[in-house]
């Protein structure tokens, strides 16, 4: 028996001139797992924030169990049985699981019998859904996967019948994803309704029974998951057909040109984040670094590109020592030696969002001819150069004088990539090249990286997207807690094996 639990009719929401949701209609049936898929900026999160009472729609109606309701704040939504697990967890780190769950909902439950009762209820919930959580554990001691469970438990305890999960797998290892999916399935068995927001097609195919696709603020389709496939969904998301796999030629490996010996690096808080790392990269090869965020990849890339000081060990480029604990070449000298770097965080490091596009396109190369001569910038040359590379790399709009913050994430990434690849580097360090980038641009960026490799560049690719590592790399190393915990040729290696390594389970 299918009955709608949540019905949205003609929802509209604008932020200034950005029409984030246009006439959205959505029906979610009770006891199903419903996927909402779309590219970054398609309006998924806005829509769900309206359902959770964080934003108010400009127009449209929301019905729960066929009764029209007004959601003015998250409190209204919780009362109406809606729970949400955000991408970034809302937990107090130095509180216990129990304290976090009753926080803001304590009423009279802080002391005595009521607290005991709350604890009993929670224990029962944990048992029903197989949560396996110690209620007295402190949050800061828990792994990301467990923290997410605490968030789910919190929603359930508050009586959630509809549970919204916003990109829940972004921070999890494959094993943790499996565990999460198990929990979600058992929630569904018990009659709960789950809304899964994601941009990962695999998760939709794996888990959901129905799926809705959003594009540019509009709902472009609803379908039963069993009646569709990944290619079709991708096409709906992007509005044109996309190539999901990367075409890659057989590797033509040259000699070792970049070498890292016993490297250790500390972060700004003086904590050692990279521990005794050894790497070798040959020309014509892509070496992938897999790992969950925060296991030292950031500091490793920063040290290799001359931004961060080396604590011990050294780095060699073409057999010449470029960095050790006493000396290091700064990024500009490294660029002259043919080492380019596409940084992990484009907003923080890769570009200056208040600069014009053309100013960012010469960033780091601004003191080289023809962009400047005896310290005076040649604006005409800079603009012409920008116009050329923007067309070549399909940056839209191709307007060199537009301020960079007005470009979309994907186009900003293309600006960085075109700048770094344009000089034909011998060694390329790439961090998270497709984070927050839409599918169309991902395809383009991947193809460019493969082209670089085929032209004989040595590429080091760090990414938390395992799919990306698997589809691009020739060889894969896994980083965990600052150490290289495994190395695999990218033949017959599965995401399971890598996942175990990423979780710190050594072979």
């Amino acid at each position: 028996m299918v009955s709608p639990i949540l019905e949205l009719t003609n929802i509209n929401k604008s932020f200034g001139h950005v029409h984030a949701n246009k006439n959205i209609n959505l029906t979610i049936n009770k006891g199903t797992i419903h996927g909402i898929i779309g590219e970054n900026g398609a309006g998924k999160s806005t829509l769900m924030s309206i359902v959770f009472g964080l934003y108010q729609a400009n127009s449209g109606t929301i019905k729960i169990n066929e009764k029209e309701i007004k959601l003015r704040s998250p409190r209204d939504s919780i009362i109406n049985g809606i729970g949400m697990v955000h991408q970034h967890f809302m937990l107090v780190e130095n509180f216990t699981v129990l304290e976090n769950i009753i926080l803001g909902f304590e009423g009279e439950t802080v002391f005595g019998e009521k607290l005991e009762k709350a604890k009993k209820d929670l224990e029962k919930l944990c048992e029903t859904y197989n949560f396996n959580i110690d209620l007295n554990a402190t949050i800061s001691d828990l792994s990301v996967g467990f923290r997410q469970r605490v968030e789910i438990l919190k929603s359930l305890y508050r009586g959630a019948e509809i549970l919204i999960l916003d990109e829940p797998t972004g921070v999890l290892t494959p094993q943790e994803v499996d565990e999460l999916f198990k929990i979600l399935r058992s929630l569904k068995e018990e009659g709960k309704t789950i809304v899964l927001i994601t941009h990962k097609l695999i998760e939709i195919m794996d888990l959901t029974s129905e799926v809705s696709v959003m594009r540019q603020g509009e709902m472009v389709g609803h379908t039963k998951t069993k009646n569709t496939n990944k290619e079709q969904l991708a096409e709906m998301m992007v509005g044109r057909s996309v190539l999901l796999r990367v075409d890659k030629k057989e590797i033509k490996k040259g000699e070792i040109i970049f070498k890292v010996n016993n490297l250790s690096v500390k972060d700004d808080l003086d904590v050692t984040r990279v521990k005794d790392v050894n790497l070798e990269i040959c020309s014509g090869e892509i070496l992938g670094i897999a790992g969950v965020t925060g296991n030292g990849q950031t500091e490793l890339l920063e040290a290799l590109s001359g931004i961060r000081k080396v604590e011990s060990g050294n780095i060699e480029l073409f057999g010449e020592k470029i960095s050790d604990q006493d000396n290091f070449l700064n990024p500009r000298m490294l660029k002259e030696k043919g080492l380019a770097h596409v940084p992990e965080d484009r907003q923080r490091m890769g570009l200056i969002s208040d600069f014009k596009a053309c100013e960012n396109l010469i960033f780091g190369y601004h003191d080289q001819e023809p962009f400047s001569k005896s310290s005076i910038l040649n604006n005409k040359e800079i603009k012409e150069h920008s116009k050329k590379v923007m067309q070549e790399y399909d940056v839209r709009p191709s307007s060199p004088t537009l301020t960079t913050s007005n470009f979309s994430g994907g186009n900003q990434q293309k600006i960085i990539l075109s700048r770094e690849l344009n000089e034909n580097p011998k060694v390329l360090l790439v961090g998270q090249p497709t984070r927050g980038v839409d599918i169309g641009a991902i395809e383009f960026i991947h193809q460019r990286l493969i082209d670089m490799r085929d032209r004989g560049a040595a590429i080091l690719l760090a990414s938390v997207e395992l799919d990306e590592i698997l589809s691009l790399s020739d060889r894969i190393v896994v980083m965990f807690d600052g150490k290289i915990v495994g190395e695999k040729e990218n033949k017959n290696v599965t995401d399971r094996e890598l996942g175990l390594l990423m979780a710190g389970v050594s072979e």
Binding site: G16, H17, P331, K335, P343, R348, H366, L377
Partner: protein, 373 residues
Amino acid sequence: MSNIVVDKSKVPWWVSNVIVPLVNLTLALLVSGLFVFIAGENPVEAVKLIIYGSFGYIQGFAYTLYYTTNFIFTGLAFAVAFHCRLFNIGGEGQAYIGGLGVFLVAINLSFLPVPIVWLLAIFGAFLFGAAWAYIPAYLQSKRGSHVVITTIMFNFIASSLMIFLLVDVIRDTNQMAPHTVKLPEAIWLPSFEAFSGILGIKIRYSPLNLTFLLAIASLFFVWFLIWKTKWGYEMRAVGHNTQAAIYAGISPHKNIIIAMCISGGLAGLLGVNEILGVSHKIQAGFPAGYGFTGIAVALMGRNHPIGILPAAFLFGILYQGGSEVTFEMPNITRYMFVAVQGLIILFSGALENLFRPQIESFFVRRLNREVSA
């Protein structure tokens, strides 16, 4: 509603850079008018007096331009540092020390050919101002001591140092007041009266002198530096995003020091106007608050030379016209105009975003309608 989101790419440049500052200025002046009214005078009459005092007769206009000269220097000084996101509020002290530079060069090298003395004195002003800014810059870049704090303290140190020098070391020993001897007349910068004499107009004394042209040249210099050279590019990069600058191999330390030294040097040029151009000696406290007002000039001018010129001119009008008002209207004191300056700073600095979103979205909507119509 404060959360109006405006698509910045659609806002025409003249709305954000002309209309918004003008609206803020108008508001500041309206509130000032209210103060004048409360003080028991007619605001319309006060405005008439300001306009007459600053434009109505040639000597008044010359005074306006003399004040404008000082504001251009201190406004540019603040703007250059601000492009590197440094809040240099030490313009006052840097100008004071810059004056010492002018005087020492001029008095010791007065035997050289006159134009060379001028050039060296200008250089001396710049160098001394820059040196005074170098210390806070060094402390900021190497030790992380915030320039806002250190430059304020350096204003006091400069003031004390100059009083010490004026009382004990370089005082004109023929009299009691804390000022130096006069420079030889041969090396004074030609004044406006001298020029007007050549043109056949006879005017009474005014402090306007050749330094005005140096100020105009400085506007060009700063524009060229910030937008046309790699140093300006690097300073702006460090100012907007230090992390990204490091990534691109641009040294924040170096650029903080360069920006602060150029800033201090520009403030130091005020000494050229005051000492080589007007009083021909160092008097205690000659920067007289121009360094601080320069902050308001730069904020109003949106840290761009093209904006700083009219902003400095406006403050010149307020200074000159304001003294005319205090002369004619007994209820309006000198301090009233300090309050007016304060209001302008408040509306064009602190409350800058009060009406910006509304004004911008208004124009964006109108323009869109025109396009679709």
